[in-house]
Symmetry: C2
Subunit: 391 residues, 2 copies
């Protein structure tokens, strides 16, 4: 991370109060003192710092039984802004958001990630300057830049590591390149972690354990455990594309299928190959999506079976992590209910009752804005919650 | 948890300083101020509270280039004590530990968990009183009781939920029963979570991502991610005994084996059944352990194959969670290197290179004290780190 630990936006002492106001309703100073058990004087000095920074503001008055009503204080998400950059294999989106992750301005276009880092990031930088200008804010308001990339990233340095579909990006110093234009912390992560962060923060903020599974050309997972994104020891947590998937039992085996790497059963190209062999020619995940959307029966059958095979792996993930929400996203998931139906069929039949009792298996709801929202959330959590953590 | 949130041992403000001294070397006040960035006056007032409680003490003097040497301060693990109770299907151990989890006095015996909660806990209470007396400490020094049970536990309430091998224990209020004798917080969890906590704290404290897999009659996992034990949304994380295990490929299938629930392939009774069918009669995990230890070739072959089948599931866990350490424990693992060798063979062959590059797959090193040490660590982390967390 290209972070400046010496001038944090929020003093460590005040992070707890700020989090209470960010995630909860507006409160009076007296309520805050009572809820935290802190001395009134301590609460006051911390709140004064937050008010001076603009992060906390008066929020109208609470109804009172008489006399002068006590002032309510609230988090002010407009105090600062974040730049979010979401890059996929074929598309880029740039947004400026507030500190709640709400999009103020956004711009997107088709692009080819394989053209290499400089042309792609040059577009992102130019677009970022445009959306910044259009939002009426300045770089002085910017607290950080978040970037999602469609491949493995060493999150601590922000550097892609052997990304299979991103020639020219291996070990490219993305943070340094962006910091030439935006002198703030630049955080980079893979697209699935970003999507998990966005989906969790936007749709499921009260859940502590959520797994996001993305199914398109590749298959990967983003894991929220104990309320936090888990990246593992070397940042590769969630790389489930090549786990061995037992063949789903509750379907007659389709020709040419045997237990195999998950992507070889349930990824977009695998479904396309199976469709082609069964009289409905297809090549890419997009072909599969389009055929599924128009109700092609071969596509529907292939996607449903891909969902069952994926479900065998998701069942293991559910037993292992006991999430309350499994979110299925990615282009193959957008082809109607077929993939999700296959996953549900197997997981609810296989995982232990305790693990499935309160489990929701759902489609992604953030849609095409999930990437930029997640990238913004990654920055917001780091800047408001984490810097200085531990002391 | 039966906790008293109103009189924490450590004030929330001071937890960060205490953690620094617990996990690091002794330091001077000036070093602490510099490392934390806190004002000297703030550091002093927090340290004074910790010194008054006995948790922090002077620790000799640092070498100085001249003049009066500045006083070093250190965490004092002897300030308080913890009671740890480790119950398995056939054995109980009780220990009194210091705040570093070091065992001061311990007592253990064979017992039958299936006799029900009252006789088993009555023995534990009597043994606890004996070890407490033998340690020369009093109940006034006690900060909490930690209990490990061989079955599912709702950690928030400390109550066993449908434990298969513990008739009579379902929904029994273990904390209330113990608090009649020890008026401190009583924390309860399943044995595998406890073993993961103990192994992590004792052997791998610098690692943030560790998975403990216990293989005996049943099979279960304890998961440390991001430095914390992860229990999942409903407390059932790690319940991998019934995940579907793909048959290991790198062995000619043994008769009667098909892909199946993991316990049906790799649990002690499954190995015993296979041994019996192959001319070396065995019934229980203990029979398997003993035959393995004396080098019975059928037992060795069966345990090795059980390791490979377990390895197929562990390979998925490794790709999903990217731990730096996988610890294999439980009675079947103690029968020499056979189980571990089978797991290693499959995991290093199957998981992604990024996930296995720095992965250690090792035997449990805490041995028979792992349970009480883990139960103590659970209490220590709660009492010193967590109460008041979030504000």
């Amino acid at each position: 991370m290209s972070d400046d630990a010496h001038s944090p936006l929020v003093q460590g002492d005040a992070r707890g109060l700020l989090r209470m106001l960010r995630l909860g309703p507006p409160r009076t100073r007296a309520q805050i003192a009572e809820l935290t058990g802190l001395a009134r004087s301590t609460v006051s000095s911390r709140l004064d710092g937050l008010i001076a920074s603009g992060l906390v503001v008066p929020a109208g008055d609470e109804l009172s039984s008489g006399g002068r009503p006590p002032a309510l204080l609230a988090f002010n998400p407009a105090a600062r802004i974040v730049l979010a950059i979401d890059l996929t294999a074929t598309r880029g989106a740039v947004a400026v958001t507030d500190l709640a992750g709400s999009i103020l301005r956004t711009e997107s276009r088709e692009l080819t990630i394989a053209e290499g880092p400089e042309p792609v990031l040059d577009w992102a930088i130019a677009a970022a300057k445009r959306v910044l200008r259009a939002s009426g804010r300045t770089r002085a308001d910017l607290v950080g830049v978040g970037v999602g990339l469609p491949g493995p990233v060493e999150h601590s340095s922000g550097v892609p590591t052997n990304p299979p579909i991103m020639p020219g990006w291996n070990l490219f110093d993305v943070p340094a390149y962006l910091r030439r234009h935006f002198d703030v912390p630049v955080l980079v992560d893979n697209d699935v972690n970003i999507l998990a962060l966005g989906e969790h923060a936007v749709c499921w903020p009260a859940e502590t354990d959520l797994v996001f599974v993305k199914v398109s050309t590749g298959i990967g997972a983003g894991i929220i455990s104990g309320g936090r994104l888990q990246r593992g020891a070397r940042g590769s947590a969630g790389d489930i594309g090549h786990v061995r998937a037992p063949l789903a039992r509750n379907a007659s085996p389709l020709p040419g299928r045997d237990d195999a790497d998950l992507e070889a059963l349930s990824g977009g190209p695998a479904i396309a190959r199976w469709m082609s062999a069964n009289g409905s020619p297809a090549q890419t995940s997009r072909d599969v999506l389009e055929a599924g959307l128009r109700g092609d029966p071969v596509a529907v059958q292939g996607i449903r079976q891909a969902g069952r095979d994926l479900g065998e792996v998701v069942a293991t993930v559910v037993d292992l992590l006991n999430p309350s929400v499994v979110v299925i996203g990615g282009s193959v998931a957008r082809a109607g209910e077929h993939l999700l139906a296959g996953v549900r069929e197997v997981v609810y039949g296989r995982s232990t009752p305790l693990a499935t009792q309160n489990l929701s298996i759902v489609h992604s709801q953030t849609g095409s804005t999930g990437g930029v929202r997640g990238a913004a959330i990654m920055v917001i959590q780091r800047v408001l919650d984490e810097a200085g953590e531990g002391v």
